[in-house]
Homo-oligomer: 354 residues x 2
């Protein structure tokens, strides 16, 4: 992540013991976009590639990656950087949010994002449109934010009501303010190695941020992304490939997905089905990033439900070397990546590159 400086990483191991990792990015690993190595095929048995040992030890209780701690660390650095940017330029980064309708989950997500912006000093603008608004009304609002020089990032909260063309609206957001990274121009530039997108989608960026902080060796590793959504699975596979992992994408049409995932060193899940990824789907010592965010009925909870991931956590922690919990794993880091994208965009707009 640019502009946030160095960091340390704390993970919770097993039943809660915290373990501190030292910063582990080398100059070859400057950003989540990955090192720009040329594809030179070497016919030998790959002795030129460093092999990991410390990262994937067998038979240990999994390290539980503490996304809340990491997000707090990132946000703290972003807040510092925003203060510095304001002091030098006299200007404030701004994020505009468009919310259509009254979905409770959308409102919750928006509130989390707005609160995070407030914490780090990003100004926010909110446009709330009724469920029945027309596409042209929505595009008019987005157009206003596209033109507004005080706005450096625009989020259109998804999903939109069915009568609105989500693809069209997302493409209408200026690529220069597309802090969600969903515009096809940014997605194309992310897919094409050697190019640099203006924005990387937040959840995939968070996923790579976690892997890099953990010091997980990615180059040459068998990596499986389960799920291929445009917002999570697809761009995560691009990022892993930019880091020179050997990536397989597993989806609903894959036969016997567990045969593929159980050979992978890195497993990222973005399916939306609680407990789909069982312990026997995972290779001992693998690193698992659970991007699932599923609501499960839970009468014992005050709200009547709890949030869970795609991975059967209780089984997985007995098999893998590190795993993100849900909640408290990728989620908070994703929010901090939105702040990071907005800050980057503002600095570009201010011409403040130092």
């Amino acid at each position: 992540m640019r502009g946030v400086g160095n960091w340390v990483c704390v993970v919770r191991r097993g039943l809660g013991r915290r373990v501190r990792y030292s910063p582990c990015r080398s100059p070859q690993y400057p950003t989540v976009l990955g090192p720009n190595f040329p594809d030179v095929w070497i016919p030998s048995t790959n002795t030129h590639r460093p092999q990991s040992s410390a990262i994937f030890p067998k038979g240990q209780t999994a390290a539980i990656i503490d996304g809340n701690f990491i997000a707090h660390d990132i946000k703290s650095r972003i807040a510092d950087e925003i203060r510095r940017t304001k002091a030098v330029t006299g200007k404030c980064p701004g994020l505009a949010v468009v919310l259509v309708g009254k979905r409770r989950d959308s409102r919750t997500f928006i509130n989390i994002k707005l609160k995070a912006c407030e914490e780090v000093g990003i100004a926010t603008l909110i446009a709330e449109l009724p469920e029945t608004c027309t596409e042209s009304e929505l595009l008019h609002v987005v157009s206003g934010f596209n033109e507004d020089t005080s706005v450096h990032g625009i989020i259109v909260q998804l999903p939109l009501p069915r009568h609105l063309d989500e693809e069209k609206v997302m493409t209408f957001v200026s690529p220069e303010k597309d802090v969600d990274g969903f515009h096809p121009l940014n997605m194309g530039n992310l897919a094409m190695r050697g190019r640099e997108p203006l924005f990387v989608p937040c959840a995939p960026k968070g996923c790579l941020e976690l892997l890099l902080r953990l010091g997980v060796e990615i180059i040459g590793k068998k990596s499986v992304v389960i799920g291929r959504s445009k917002m999570v699975g697809l761009p995560t596979s691009f990022l892993l490939q930019r880091h020179h992992a050997t990536v397989t994408t597993v989806h609903a049409f894959t036969n016997n997905p567990e045969q593929i995932t159980s050979k992978a060193d890195i497993v990222v899940s973005d399916v939306g089905i609680p407990n789909m990824v069982r312990g026997n789907w995972l290779k001992p010592g693998a690193v698992v990033i659970d991007m699932g965010n599923n609501l499960v009925k839970d009468p014992s909870s005050r709200r009547g439900y709890r949030v869970t991931g795609d991975v059967c956590y209780e089984e997985a922690i007995k098999v893998v070397s590190a795993i993100t919990p849900v909640p408290g794993g990728v989620g908070p880091v994703t929010i901090s990546m939105l702040l990071s994208n907005t800050l980057d965009s503002a600095k570009r707009a201010f011409g403040f590159t130092s």
Copy 2:
């Protein structure tokens, strides 16, 4: 491929016996972009997915896919369609080619493309710039073609001399005339399922065209793309995934690539190394599309060299069920896809959609 109607497919088997396949596309397989199935995860052992048997029989001599024949068939249909378009609209599709410098291979490729255009009735314009031209001179020429309403497709022949920024030039080509499909906006829309790019890169489009004509079942099949170039490997992996294959991309950092390729039902190679893919890299009955186009010294040849692919052909034909030869496989079909893209673009510009 749109606008070209039905077809039949002829392949050469073993040492030259021709075998005719009937058309095999169902309405679910209308275009190379693939059917837009939703990702519905079914926890059973995938009994809902049809299994192939006829396509991957074991122990047979490979069918040799006759790209020249298929390209001829496609071109003939494109020529018919261009005649019809001209008759109705009074206008002619046009392709502009930009050539910088005097590379012999670039000149050869250009000549092949120009000849193909002439055969089907596409008008051509050529801009030749000296090796020493500046970037702004080159962009000025591209800009002229972007504005020229008689031009519906623009090719900037690659590679460009090193002092020119290839990425910048490719992005400068109007996405509406990007018949090579290399613009990041088109690439992003190709990567994102549910979206439709204006153009699909020609070699990957040709690869899928061949698989579809052969009647190869792609859904759920293990597919490996060897190589990840922006022009061939990457977009081929997108297309295979749009057809719901389980795609793994193998590259120079992959450990033991042969362990991965030898489990694949479909192998596409885009590496640029003669004979890299040996017979023992391939699963018996697999389908192999060899996108390699390598020059190898050959004193017995009139020119002193011969063209060969990435796959050790002599070994592969004893293992796989079907394979494209080099030359005479994907190459000619790629050229016909350029013609198809140019025709599609012209019809869009003419508003002639019937």
